[in-house]
Structure formats: structure tokens, C-alpha cells
């Protein structure tokens, strides 16, 4: 499977949207990929069941950082209910390129951190980590 580093992916990698931290987030989570050291932290400000603001910080490959940047754009202004529903297919759709099996962990790192932040804030059920083992 050939991965295709499209221009918009490089743009999100080099100019990430919503990069940084929030002063007073009410949802936060962070995680790293132990195999490659990719890191990601997400801050959310949720008001009236809407994701009012989102910021992320991280370091890692173009796939992991572009996926985080795109995900941040995707959830801004969305209802918590909609964000809870977001899954791997939504991330793959926004990346728009085939992701080789060895790189899926990179692509889904931000999604995992996003759901963890909502779970820690009591807004969704904690995710089952076994799901990662398929």
C-alpha cells in the first residue's frame, strides 16, 4: 500500500491548526505512542454541550500531527454528542490517503487522546483499550 503525502497533509504538519494550550480547559488528556515516541495532548473548552475551543500540542510524524490538526478543525463548534460518535473512519476520510498498517497508530493517536479527554471529563464511557489490538 503506497502512502501519498498530499500537499494538505504537509500543510497541516508544518502549519498545525489550533496548536497550543488553553488557559482553562475543562477536558484534557495526553498520550504517547511508546514504540515511536509520538506525543499528543489535547485541551478542550466545553460550554453548553458544545466544543467551544480546542488546542493540541504534540510532536511526531506528519501523519500523526496532520491527523491531530485536522481532527481539531473537525470538532471545533461541534456538539459533544457528535464528537463522541467520531471514529477511525472519520480520521481516515479527512486524511484522504491510504494508511499502511504500521502507521495506523500514528493516524489514530489524536482520536484516542480526544476520546480519553471526554472520558476523563465524564462525557463518554471510557474506551476499551483492547480495541487497539486488532
Amino acid at each position: 500500500m503506497s502512502m501519498d503525502y498530499r500537499e494538505y497533509i504537509l500543510d497541516h504538519y508544518r502549519n498545525p491548526r489550533n496548536y497550543g494550550t488553553l488557559a482553562h480547559p475543562n477536558a484534557h488528556a495526553e498520550d504517547s505512542n511508546p514504540l515511536c515516541g509520538d506525543q499528543l495532548a489535547i485541551d478542550l473548552l466545553i460550554e453548553e454541550d458544545l466544543v467551544k475551543e480546542v488546542r493540541f500540542q504534540g510532536r511526531g510524524c506528519a501523519i500523526s500531527q496532520a491527523a491531530a490538526s485536522m481532527l481539531s478543525e473537525m470538532i471545533e463548534g461541534k456538539s459533544v454528542e457528535e464528537v463522541v460518535q467520531l471514529g477511525k473512519d472519520d480520521v481516515l476520510d479527512s486524511l484522504g490517503i491510504p494508511i499502511s498498517p504500521a502507521r495506523t497508530k500514528c493516524a489514530f493517536l489524536s482520536l484516542r487522546v480526544l476520546h480519553r479527554s471526554l472520558a476523563l471529563a465524564g462525557l463518554e464511557k471510557p474506551i476499551d483499550n483492547d480495541e487497539e489490538d486488532q
Partner: protein, 416 residues
């Protein structure tokens, strides 16, 4: 004194014919394998020695009284003798089979360490250790209340030997360091460092995972106390490694794991231990793997370790010269003369994982990307990850040229 006869030099082109995997395709392109530091490929001689054993001789060792069990035992013990001669151990009973380098180091940390390291004792390590020669000592130090100190690494990727000498004045019980860095390729001056440690009253464990496969290593000339390495990095199978130790130390050490094979007599409440090396080999060993390791040793002997070292120095010098010309590429570590066949590098703002993906998909080149199980060393150089290309007896200049072609392709894709 006997002079060592080096075998006639075989070309890497010729050697490649012995490695079936090197003729396969990846993504429709010939495989260019530049990750031998992580694990080497296997020649037909090793694969066949193992399959022949399973086809004709397999039985459990050290207990059967029937023909094939005796044959299996003899084959496995012959492999031990080959390994002993390969590193010039005085006796084959000083060669203990483990699973890998990591288990060899853990064996020493648990068995020797828990018997000898007391609260306040000092263990000296270096800033360029693989996690396998760091974490076992952290665990020992935490349990025993011992201290760890580290020889720092210079900007050129060398050990700061003046600091080493200062640390030795604090009379450490043990010094453990890598013979060759798996990240920087640095070959450390083991013989001098061991002599200095002994003069200070310390024992030395040498992590030889990267040196035994790539250069002549003589445990008696080094006068090293413990030496650890893995078969799979030296053309042999996975699942078997070696701990060499000085005999008086091994004799005095308590067993590491209890079970079958390592005992002499067993009562309900207590047991007595078998002789070396079996005292440290509880349970059914990796018999086919030991035989495969023996075949790998034969294969390397036929090439000659001086020849192997020379070839890798040549290919490394060529590779450093070529990749340095790629714009934006930074190599970490010392010059070619002071390193083995390993080059860690970064290229512009391209993350090493992206680089490895592009090399794999575009030109079929397999390299490693990440922290290489040496996170403290990465932090020392302010890096989260590097790309790493590494070489072995079967690496040819065409492989390096394909790497360079792939690096240019990556620059193009990342618009650099």
C-alpha cells in the same frame, strides 16, 4: 603464540547469494535491507542446520538415553564449544545460553547483583546505553538502594573518559557499558576501560550485542568479567543469546531461574545445583536455536571477523560520504574510523517515521526510525527520534546508492 589465519576475502556480492531473503521484492522492488543492527538476515547454512536438526535429530537434551536425544545433546554442546572458541573463552562451560542479550544482562543483575550489590554501592553506566543495559540496573539499584552514575557522551558521540576516571575514584562495584553504540555506532575503547575499572576494584559487564557480530572479540584479551550478546544479530536465529562470565564469578553466583536441568538433586524443601553452565539454564533450552547459532559462528569464521570489520568500515565510510551530500542531512556520532556500520541521521523537518515509510514504499529500503531503545541518548542530542541505516557483511554500495536515491525522493515529496 599462534597467528590467526584470516580466510580469503569473499566479496559482499558473493556473500549475498547465501541469503535467500535478499532476493525478495517489497512493493515490487528488490529489498534493500539496512536494519541489521536491529536484527541480521540469515544465510542458508543457518536455516538448513536448524531444519535438518528438526527433520533428523530432535529430542529433548540432557536426559534421553536413546540415540536421537544423545545426538541432539551432542549437537547443542558442540554449538557451545563453537561459541566459546569464537570469543576465545577458556572453557565452554563459561558460555551460558540465554534468550538474548537482555536476558544475559538481567541474569547478572539478578544473580550477581542481588548477592553483591548493597545499599550505597555504586554502579557506573554510560549515557549511550541501550535500555537493556540500563533498566535492569535501575531495578537492581532501586531494590538494593545502590547508586547509578553515568559517563556522559560528547557532542561527537564519544564517551567522556576523564569523567569515567573520576567516577572510578568513587570505587564502583560494577561498570556496565556498551562495546558499540546501537545508535551512534561509536566503538568504545573497551580494553582500556576494563583495565581501568579493574585497577579501581570494579567488575565489568560488556554489552557486546553490536560488537560480537561485527568485529573480532576476545574475552581473554579484553579480560572482561561478563560479556553479553544475541545470536539474531550475528546471522543466527532469534530466541538465543549468550552470557560469558569468568568461571570463579559464575561458580559463586546463585541460580537465576529454578526448574528442570539446573538441579543436581531436588527435595521437597531444598535442592542442590547443577554444574556450569547448566546451573543457569533452567528448563528445556532453545536447542535448534543453539545449533543455528553454531552454524552462524561457522559461517562468520569462514568469512573472517577481521574481513567483516574491514568490509563494514569501507561501506560505512562510503555511506557517510554519500549521505552527507544530501541537503539538510545531519549525521550523529563520530567519524567513520571510530564507529561500526551504523549511521543515525535526520533530514530537514522530515520526521524519521515519514522518512522510513517513504524509503520503504518508494525504493524498497528498510531502515529503522525511532528512539532505538536509547531514549536518554536521544534526549542528550535533543532528539525525539532519528533514522538509522546499518550495514553487515552482505551490504553493497548499490544498497547505499538506493538509500541516497530514496532520501532525494523524500526531499521531493516534502518539497524541501
Amino acid at each position: 603464540m599462534t597467528t590467526v589465519q584470516q580466510p580469503a576475502t569473499r566479496s559482499a556480492d558473493d556473500i549475498r547469494g547465501d541469503f535467500p531473503i535478499l532476493s525478495r521484492l517489497v512493493h515490487g522492488k528488490p529489498l534493500v535491507y539496512l536494519d541489521s543492527t536491529a536484527s541480521s538476515q540469515k544465510p542458508v547454512a543457518v536455516i538448513e542446520a536448524m531444519s535438518q536438526y528438526y527433520e533428523t535429530t530432535h529430542a529433548n537434551v540432557h536426559r534421553g538415553v536413546y540415540e536421537i536425544s544423545e545426538e541432539a545433546t551432542a549437537k547443542m554442546e558442540r554449538a557451545r564449544v563453537k561459541v566459546a572458541r569464537f570469543i576465545n573463552a577458556r572453557q565452554s562451560k563459561q558460555v551460558i545460553f540465554t534468550r538474548n542479550t537482555t536476558e544475559s544482562i538481567n541474569l547478572v543483575a539478578y544473580s550477581w547483583g542481588y548477592a553483591n550489590i548493597k545499599a550505597g554501592d555504586l554502579i557506573v553506566l554510560t549515557g549511550m546505553e541501550h535500555h537493556s543495559n540500563l533498566v535492569p540496573w535501575q531495578m537492581l539499584a532501586q531494590r538494593a538502594g545502590a547508586r547509578l552514575e553515568f559517563v556522559p557522551v560528547t557532542d561527537d558521540g564519544l564517551l567522556q573518559l576523564d569523567v569515567y576516571e573520576q567516577l572510578l575514584q568513587q570505587q564502583p562495584r560494577l561498570v556496565a557499558f556498551t562495546h558499540m553504540s546501537n545508535v551512534l555506532g561509536t566503538v568504545n575503547p573497551a580494553q582500556e576501560m576494563i583495565a581501568q575499572a579493574h585497577a579501581a576494584g570494579a567488575l565489568v559487564l560488556l554489552d557486546a550485542a553490536q560488537s560480537v557480530p561485527h568485529m573480532p572479540v576476545d574475552v581473554q584479551a579484553l579480560d572482561v568479567d561478563f560479556l553479553c550478546f544475541s545470536a539474531h544479530k550475528m546471522l543466527g536465529p532469534t530466541g538465543i543469546g549468550v552470557l560469558y562470565g569468568k568461571r570463579d564469578l559464575l561458580e559463586a553466583m546463585p541460580p537465576f531461574m529454578g526448574g528442570g536441568d539446573m538441579i543436581r538433586t531436588v527435595g521437597l524443601r531444598e535442592s542442590t545445583w547443577n554444574d556450569l553452565p547448566w546451573k543457569f539454564e533452567a528448563g528445556t533450552p532453545a536447542i535448534a536455536e543453539a545449533i543455528g547459532l553454531g552454524a552462524a559462528v561457522d559461517y562468520l569464521n569462514a568469512i573472517g571477523m577481521e574481513n567483516a570489520r574491514q568490509h563494514e568500515q569501507n561501506i560505512t565510510a562510503y555511506a557517510m560520504e554519500q549521505v552527507q551530500q544530501v541537503p539538510g542531512l545531519i549525521i550523529y556520532g563520530p567519524g567513520a574510523a571510530r564507529r561500526g556500520g551504523v549511521i543515525s541521521f535526520t533530514l530537514g523537518d522530515i520526521h524519521p517515521h515519514d522518512l522510513a515509510s517513504i524509503l520503504d514504499q518508494e525504493v524498497g529500503v528498510a531502515i529503522r526510525a525511532g528512539h532505538h531503545c536509547a531514549q536518554p541518548l536521544m534526549e542528550r542530542f535533543g532528539l525525539a527520534a532519528t533514522a538509522r541505516a546499518s550495514f553487515y557483511v552482505y551490504t553493497i554500495t548499490d544498497d547505499v546508492d538506493m538509500l541516497v536515491k530514496g532520501l532525494h525522493k523524500a526531499l521531493e515529496i516534502f518539497k524541501l
